[in-house]
C-alpha cells in the first residue's frame, strides 16, 4: 500500500500537469475564432436585409434610410439622433467597441427563401455579425431561424405576427416591434368607447401566419368586450380584387368589418370596402364601421382618402412629442426631407440597441449580446420605458391607437394618434396560449 506524500517536487509536477491540462483546449484553438465573424480589423460589419424589390420596396427603402442614419450616428457623424436621448449612455459615437461601423445590404424581396439567401450571403461572404430589417413575419421567422443556425444576432424589423416571439422564437432573435396581441389589447377599449360594446364583426383575413394570429388576437380582444364575431373569411394572399369577399358583408348582419390585411392587400380591400359604400350604411341601427388593426404610413398613403376615420394601431409614429421621437424625426427629416415611417423607426432603434448591447457586454460575441439584451430596460427611444423581456425576446412598451386623419393638411398627414396605450395594458404572460409552442433554446455564437 503506497502512501501519498505531498512535497515540493510533487506539487510543482502536479501543478504543471494540471496547468497544461487546463490550457490544452486553448493551446490548440487560440488561433481559431471565438465566435462567427469576429471583427479582426478596425471595422465591424452589420447586414441590413430589407425588401429592395417587390411590393414592399418603398417600406424597405425607408428602413434602409433609417439604418444608414443609425450607422452615421454610431460613427459620430450627424447630430446623434436618439443617441442623445437614449437612457443608456454606453454609446460614444466612436463606432461599436471602438470599431468603425460599416454595412452591407441584402434584398429580401419579401420572400422567405430570397431573404434567407441574402442573409446567408451577408453572413458568409461579407462577414456580417448582425442582421437587421424586413417587412414581413414570414421573412422574419425564416431569417431568425437562419441566424440562430449560423450564430449571429437577428434584430427583427417590421414583423407583427405573434409567432415571431411565440412558437418561432429563437435565442439569437430579438423583436422591438409590437405584435398582434398588443394591437388587440390596445384597440379593443378604444373601439368599445367609440362604437359601443354591442357590435357584430366580420373579419376578412389574409391567409398566412400573420393574418391568422392577428385575426385570433383581434377577435379575442373584441369578444372580450362584448362584440360578436359573425364570420371570418380567409382571403388568398395573392388577391387583388376583394369585391367578391366584401359583397356578402352587408347582408351578413355584421355592422363592423375588420380587415386583417397588410400592404397591397390592405390598400385594395379597404378601397373596395369604401367603394361598396359600407361606411355609408346603417346596420342594426348603427353606423357601419371598418377597422384596419395594423397601420403603416406608406399603406395609409396608398389608400388615400379611404383611411379617413378608420381606426388601427401602430408601433410608433413621427407625430409623437417625446424627446427621443423629436430627435429622430429631426435627424431623419433633415437628411431625407420626409418624416420616418414606423418600420424605419424600429430598424433604427434595433441597430442602436444592438450596438449598445455590444458596448455593455464588452464583446461582439452573440452570447454576450444576448445576455446584455435580455431583461434590458431602457427609455428615450420613442415608446416610453421599454423592457426587452428575457423569456421571449419581445419588447414591451406603449402602443399607439391611430385613426385616419379627417382633414389632412399635407401629404404626410394621413394618420392621427388617438391614444398612447400604456405598456401595462398590452403585457401578457410568457406562457400565454397565443404564444405557446416554442422554445428560445440556447444562444449560438457560431464558433
Amino acid at each position: 500500500m503506497s502512501k501519498f506524500q505531498l512535497n515540493r517536487r510533487t506539487l510543482i509536477k502536479s501543478g504543471a500537469a494540471v496547468g497544461a491540462g487546463l490550457a490544452l483546449p486553448t493551446m490548440f484553438t487560440s488561433s481559431a475564432r471565438a465566435y462567427l465573424n469576429e471583427p479582426k480589423g478596425g471595422t465591424v460589419t452589420l447586414g441590413f436585409n430589407v425588401p429592395q424589390t417587390g411590393p414592399y420596396a418603398d417600406e424597405g427603402l425607408d428602413e434602409l434610410r433609417a439604418q444608414e442614419l443609425a450607422v452615421q450616428h454610431l460613427n459620430g457623424e450627424g447630430d446623434g439622433g436618439m443617441m442623445n436621448t437614449f437612457s443608456s449612455k454606453a454609446l460614444k459615437g466612436n463606432g461599436i467597441l471602438g470599431k468603425k461601423v460599416q454595412f452591407v445590404t441584402g434584398d429580401t424581396q419579401t420572400k422567405s427563401d430570397a431573404a434567407r439567401a441574402s442573409a446567408k450571403s451577408m453572413i458568409e461572404k461579407d462577414g456580417a455579425i448582425m442582421i437587421n430589417g424586413g417587412s414581413s413575419s414570414g421573412v422574419a421567422v425564416a431569417v431568425q431561424g437562419l441566424c440562430q443556425e449560423a450564430g449571429v444576432i437577428f434584430m427583427a424589423g417590421l414583423t407583427h405576427s405573434n409567432d415571431t416571439t411565440g412558437k418561432d422564437k429563437k435565442a439569437n432573435g430579438f423583436r422591438h416591434f409590437f405584435n398582434a396581441y398588443m394591437s388587440g389589447a390596445a384597440l379593443a377599449p378604444v373601439l368599445a368607447k367609440a362604437y359601443g360594446t354591442d357590435r357584430r364583426a366580420y373579419h376578412l383575413t389574409a391567409d398566412y401566419t400573420w393574418g391568422w394570429t392577428q385575426q385570433e388576437s383581434i377577435a379575442t380582444a373584441t369578444e372580450g368586450m362584448g362584440w360578436e364575431t359573425v364570420n371570418n373569411v380567409l382571403t388568398p394572399l395573392a388577391s387583388t380584387d376583394f369585391s367578391s369577399y366584401i359583397a356578402p358583408v352587408l347582408n351578413s348582419g355584421a355592422d363592423v368589418l375588420i380587415l386583417n390585411h397588410y400592404g397591397g392587400n390592405m390598400v385594395n380591400s379597404l378601397t373596395n370596402a369604401v367603394q361598396f359604400g359600407l361606411r355609408d350604411k346603417m346596420v342594426n341601427g348603427k353606423q357601419f364601421e371598418i377597422i384596419v388593426p395594423l397601420y403603416s404610413e406608406l399603406m395609409a398613403a396608398g389608400a388615400g382618402a379611404n383611411v379617413r376615420g378608420v381606426y388601427g394601431s401602430m408601433n410608433w409614429n413621427w407625430q409623437l412629442q417625446d424627446e427621443g421621437s423629436k430627435a429622430f424625426v429631426k435627424s431623419f427629416g433633415e437628411k431625407y426631407g420626409r418624416p420616418p415611417s414606423n418600420s424605419a423607426h424600429t430598424c433604427y432603434v434595433q441597430t442602436l440597441l444592438y450596438a449598445d448591447a455590444c458596448e455593455r457586454a464588452g464583446t461582439f460575441d452573440p452570447c454576450g449580446v444576448v445576455e446584455a439584451l435580455e431583461g434590458f430596460e431602457f427609455d428615450g427611444m420613442g415608446n416610453g420605458p421599454t423592457l426587452y423581456r428575457a423569456d421571449d425576446h419581445q419588447c414591451f412598451k406603449d402602443v399607439l391607437v391611430m385613426k385616419g386623419t379627417d382633414n389632412p393638411t399635407n401629404e404626410y398627414d394621413t394618420l392621427e394618434i388617438v391614444e398612447q396605450t400604456p405598456r401595462s395594458q398590452v403585457e401578457y404572460a410568457p406562457d400565454h396560449p397565443m404564444f405557446a409552442g416554442g422554445e428560445l433554446g440556447q444562444c449560438n455564437s457560431g464558433a
Binding site: 367578391s244 390598400v267 367603394q275 361598396f276
Partner: protein, 343 residues
C-alpha cells in the same frame, strides 16, 4: 337570390378586365402569331397614364404659409395647382376631379405609340422564332417595363380616385325590384362594365364594318393570299398591335380607381388573361370575351362563403381547374378554330 345577383355583377366586373386584356392578347396572337407576355404590362401602363395625367394636372406652385408648420417646425409649403390658379376654383378642381376620364384621351395616343414602338422595335424580330423565344422576350420586356415604372413611381400603390359623382355605391336591388339595401354596388364598377362593353363593341365593329377591319380579318384567315393581292398586311398588323395595346391601356386607365395602381398590377392579370385566352380559344375574339366574363363570374361564385365551406380553397383554383378541364375535353377552347391546339 340577392347574393347570386351580387356575385354575377362582381363577375361581370372582373370579367370586363379579363375580357379587355384577353381581347388584346387574342388580336396580337391572331394577327401576328405572337404570344405576348408583355400585355399585362400594357394594362399597367394604361393605369399609369391615369396616374401621370393626374400628376401633370396637379403640377403646382408652392407658397410658404407662416401660420402653419410642417413636420420639422418650418413654415408649411402650400401647393396650389396651376389649373386651379388659371381656371379658378370650380373649373380647376373639376378638371382635377375628372383626371381619370380625361386620361382616356391621354392614353389612346400614348398606348398606340407604345404598341407601335414595341412591335417595330422588338417583337417583329421574333415573328419567325419559336413561341418559347417570343414568350421569353416579351416576359423580359414586361419585367423591364415594370422596373422602369417602379423607378419613376415607386412600389407603393398610388391612389387615383374616380370623379366625385361616381364615388360610393348605388342601390342596384331597388332598380331590379328588390328591397332596399339588398344589392349595393359601386357606381364606378358599373361604369367600368359599361365602358368595357363599349370598347369591346367598338373593336368588333371596327373589324366587321370597316375596310381596314375586313382586310385584317382576311389576313388573320389567310395571310399569304392577302399579301398576294398586293396589300401590305404587315403594316396593318402593326397597327392592330397598336390598337391591342390601346385596348389594354384603356382597360388599365379605367381600372385605376378600382384598385390603386402599382407597378406589379399587370402581372396580377397576365396569367389569368392567358387562361382566359386558352379557355376561349386561341385566336378567337368572341371566345376571349365570352371566356373573360364566364371565368370572372365563376371566380366570384367560388369566393362565396357557401361554396368555400363545401370546397375550401376553391376560390384560389377555380380558374385553373376550368382551364384544365377545357384543355382535356376541348383543347381548341370554347370557340377556337378546329385544329388549333389540337395537334
Amino acid at each position: 337570390m340577392d347574393a347570386i345577383i351580387l356575385q354575377i355583377l362582381n363577375g361581370l366586373d372582373k370579367g370586363s378586365a379579363y375580357a379587355l386584356i384577353a381581347l388584346g392578347l387574342t388580336l396580337i396572337f391572331g394577327t401576328l402569331g405572337v404570344v405576348n407576355f408583355a400585355h399585362g404590362a400594357l394594362f399597367m401602363l394604361g393605369a399609369f397614364c391615369a396616374v401621370t395625367l393626374q400628376r401633370i394636372l396637379s403640377l403646382s406652385f408652392t407658397v410658404e404659409d407662416p401660420t402653419q408648420k410642417d413636420f420639422l417646425g418650418n413654415p408649411l409649403k402650400v401647393d396650389t395647382p396651376y389649373v386651379v390658379n388659371w381656371f379658378g376654383d370650380v373649373t380647376g378642381n373639376a378638371i382635377l376631379d375628372w383626371s381619370v376620364p380625361l386620361a382616356i384621351l391621354f392614353a389612346i395616343p400614348v398606348m398606340l405609340l407604345v404598341g407601335y414602338v414595341m412591335e417595330r422595335g422588338l417583337i417583329k424580330h421574333f415573328y419567325k422564332r419559336p413561341h418559347a423565344d417570343q414568350i421569353l422576350v416579351t416576359f423580359g420586356l414586361a419585367i423591364v417595363i415594370q422596373e422602369i415604372v417602379k423607378y419613376f413611381y415607386g412600389a407603393n400603390p398610388i391612389p387615383t380616385p374616380a370623379p366625385d359623382m361616381f364615388r360610393g355605391s348605388v342601390d342596384f336591388g331597388v332598380m331590379v325590384g328588390f328591397a332596399e339595401n339588398q344589392i349595393i354596388y359601386p357606381y364606378w364598377r358599373l361604369v367600368y362594365f359599361l365602358f368595357s362593353a363599349v370598347i369591346i363593341g367598338a373593336v368588333f365593329a371596327f373589324l366587321r364594318f370597316t375596310t381596314f377591319g375586313m382586310v385584317v380579318r382576311a389576313g388573320m384567315a389567310d395571310r399569304e393570299t392577302v399579301g398576294l393581292l398586293g396589300i401590305n398586311i404587315d403594316k396593318r398588323f402593326t397597327i392592330m398591335f397598336g390598337i391591342a395595346a390601346a385596348v389594354a391601356g384603356l382597360a388599365g386607365v379605367m381600372y385605376a380607381p378600382i384598385n390603386s395602381p402599382n407597378y406589379h398590377m399587370g402581372m396580377d392579370f397576365l396569367v389569368l388573361s392567358f387562361v382566359v385566352v386558352v379557355v376561349g380559344g386561341m385566336g378567337s375574339l368572341p371566345g376571349a370575351v365570352l371566356a373573360g366574363f364566364l371565368l370572372g363570374i365563376l371566380e366570384s361564385f367560388a369566393s362565396m362563403n357557401e361554396v368555400k365551406s363545401i370546397i375550401p380553397g376553391i376560390d384560389q383554383i377555380i380558374i385553373y381547374l376550368v382551364a384544365i378541364i377545357i384543355l382535356l375535353t376541348r383543347p381548341r377552347g370554347l370557340m377556337g378554330r378546329r385544329g388549333v391546339m389540337e395537334e
